[in-house]
Amino acid sequence: MQNDALRKRESAFRPFLTCSLALVCLVGALGVPGPGAVRADVPQPQDFGGRVDPATFDIPAIQQAYRKILARWASGARGEAVNDLKALERGVIGADGKGRDKLWKAEIQAVRELEEAQHETLLPVMVLHQESYAAYREVHNPFLSLHARNLTRSLAEVYAARGATEGAKISAARVLTSLGSYIQEAALTDLAAELYARSLELDPVNEVALLGLGALFEKSGRYPSAIGYLTRLVKAHPGQAEGKLRLALSLERNPVGSEIGGHAPAAEIKRLLRELIAGDSPGWVRNLAYEELAVRYSRDGEQEKAEAVLKEGITKFPNEPRLYIELASVLERRGQWGAAAQMAEKVQSLPLGAEESARFRYSRWGPEALFALRASLRETSDARLALLSQALGTVKVAG
């Protein structure tokens, strides 16, 4: 059943899969110069308090350094812990990826010992590795990203499987979703979709995963699939303004044009957009709702209504040039040349270019709900830091 679902996901994102598979193959097939050589891009001895280059570490040494980093993380020194982890992993893996198996074994084994001492320690550990993944996007070493991604994902799966509670599943789903969002930002869309889909298996109403899948399918032009996820999203989270907007626009573009919820698409589109205008949606969403509702009216030949919507939009967003440009076009279509010219002229007197446009905001991934999800995840993780600290002490004594 799960394999079937995975096959479907892979099939849906086949165009993107090729790139990801190619990367994995590349990672596996790269040649390997000998270890131990000190390179300019690995941490220097002073990075580890005067100790030797991490590339020369054996597994116990890596584990010792790793536990210290986890202890630092548990103490709340987040930035330092992430930086130390980056330095350790970068040093062990190396630019050529030679040390990746050694690092994997060392960290997995250390985490396993912690998990055996206290299962809940997994959550703060995976959050740490997820944050290191985010940091590795700036580092041009695919082995580091791959390691952080795979470790975070594996730990989340273990946490969900052994936790055996709804809460554990929901937290694991949040980790996978957060990781998926970082991956989506990096344009690895097939992988992001796979993580979102897995998140939804663990937590079927995960807001960000539903929105993420909807946005990914929308961006690839597969509107019926986008509509499916976005409809689920809006049903589970009626206040999800971005989801509602994406649903309206996916319905608008869907060539199938099937009826949704017993309403003709055009009526449903208008209803959704009107709701967004009337509600307390984020400004960029309301701005777009005005623009797109006017487009919809224009397409239906209701130019008078389009004009009224845009004029109302201008009262709410008086410095948005695009509303004036769109209104000029509508007025010109209605034969009101003079009024159209005035709108074009008005644009020149507006304060221009200070902020990204609402349409650009729509093009990029970064929903407000994601920030809420990450904040919630961090809070849950923080509540377990004491357990992590305690488990580290136990393990050290045992060691």
Binding site: K219, I325, V347, L352, G353
Partner: protein, 408 residues
């Protein structure tokens, strides 16, 4: 920025004189004053003589004096419309939408107290079905088989066919016909660095090559509008705007191409848009069909300088706003709008070619023939009229001009 409001549709149909006056600045009644010992003269630059006025109009004068000017006062229909102490002596005034004559008076005063005045009275549009035909102006580029432009043609060499029916040419000019250009520059993120520098160099060359009677406006865009200047003959303020603009954000060509066409509506004379971009539209709210609709009702030329350093064929994209098919359609419609306007698409393979491409457009504008005709079978039915231009007795020449117009 002056954007005279267009008259209503019916009035515009009935305004042949407006079109005839398009390319001419007029000297109206001038009252120089030498009484105080100074020679002062006021000349109207805008509006053109015998032009019916509607909506917001540009009022502009040139003041010649052998001593300093202390003020220039504009009055419209007896009411003060503006007072300026230094050039440019240009104000905007809303004369309303009524089809009535308007009286414009401008008085300049020098430092010694000498004054001079100029005045004109704009006519109302004569609504007369027998003459309710607008002048159609065609900007024509003729090239020989060697690619060089052919510059020695006469009026008799041209035949203009409107839906296959030969038309009588009522105006014919070549060369120094003034233009108003909108330099429409993509300053999206991908233009950062050398590309925007090349863009600046191209604009600099274009502006430097303009004549005193030419004007340009700079419209800079990414996913949003970053700057839209008034039309200027002075290149310094335009270059200053470009110099301080960063490349950022996405790309929205359609919305800003529409804006450029709209800004040219309000300008007297030949309208030209030079679009310089390295990408395709992603974020516009207007479809290219909307822009095409507008383009077919405009007389402006559109040139598209398409920077493609990769030198490869364009690849399809799918975005949050449009799928592959829709994006392809937008691209084709943009190509169509450019070609239909009588302009052209210039592919630029390296940034080293940008400056030359701008210069070449300027050179082409100087070499264009300007033909005018009154359509012999205008019906104002909103239908498309295909226009063909033939050059007799010159085998192998290539003629490029607007391919038609909407009869409205």
């Amino acid at each position: 920025m002056g954007i005279p409001t267009r008259p209503t549709r019916d009035l515009r149909r009935s305004a042949p004189l407006l079109a005839l006056g398009l390319l001419v600045c007029c000297l109206s009644i001038v009252r120089p004053d030498r009484a105080a010992g100074a020679a002062v003269e006021v000349l109207f630059l805008s509006p053109a003589q015998a032009t019916p006025l509607f909506g917001t109009v540009d009022l502009a004068v040139n003041v010649r004096s052998d001593e300093a000017i202390v003020k220039v006062v504009f009055k419209v229909d007896g009411k003060p419309a503006g007072e300026l102490k230094k050039p440019p002596f240009r104000v905007q005034w809303d004369v309303g939408q009524e089809n009535v004559p308007h009286h414009v008076e401008v008085v300049a005063t020098t430092v010694s107290g000498a004054t001079a005045a100029a005045e004109l009275t704009s006519p109302a549009v004569v609504v007369n079905e027998e003459i309710s035909v607008a002048l159609r102006t065609l900007f024509v580029t003729v090239s020989g088989s060697d690619g060089k432009r052919v510059l020695d043609l006469t009026r008799d060499d041209f035949r203009v066919l409107d839906n296959g029916v030969e038309q009588k040419l009522v105006t014919f000019e070549r060369g120094e016909v003034p233009f108003n250009a909108v330099l429409l520059l993509d300053t999206s993120e991908s233009m950062r660095g050398a590309r925007i520098e090349a863009s600046r160099a191209g604009v600099h060359s274009f502006l430097a090559g303009m004549k005193d009677v030419d004007e340009a406006s700079l419209v800079l865009f990414s996913d949003r509008l970053l700057a839209a200047t008034p039309f200027h003959n002075d290149r310094k303020p335009l270059e200053a705007v470009l110099a301080k603009t960063d490349a950022l954000g996405g790309t929205a060509i359609n919305d800003h191409l529409y804006l450029a066409l709209k800004l040219l509506d309000g300008q007297v004379g030949r309208g030209v848009i030079v679009l310089f971009s390295d990408g395709t539209d992603v974020q516009s709210v207007l479809s290219m069909q909307e822009v095409l609709w507008k383009e077919r009702r405009s007389q402006s030329l559109i040139y598209w300088l398409q920077l493609n350093e990769e030198g490869s064929r364009r690849t399809s994209i799918s975005s949050a706003w449009r799928d592959f098919a829709a994006n392809d359609r937008e691209f084709r419609d943009l190509q169509r709008a450019v070609i239909e306007s009588g302009g052209r698409i210039e592919g630029i393979a390296s940034i080293g070619g940008v400056e030359g491409a701008f210069k070449e457009i300027l050179s082409e504008l100087r070499d264009q023939y300007v033909l005018g005709f009154y359509p012999s079978h205008a019906r104002h039915d909103g239908k498309w009229h295909e226009v063909q231009i033939k050059v007799a007795g010159h085998g192998g020449v290539h003629v490029r001009a607007r391919g038609g117009y909407v009869d409205y």
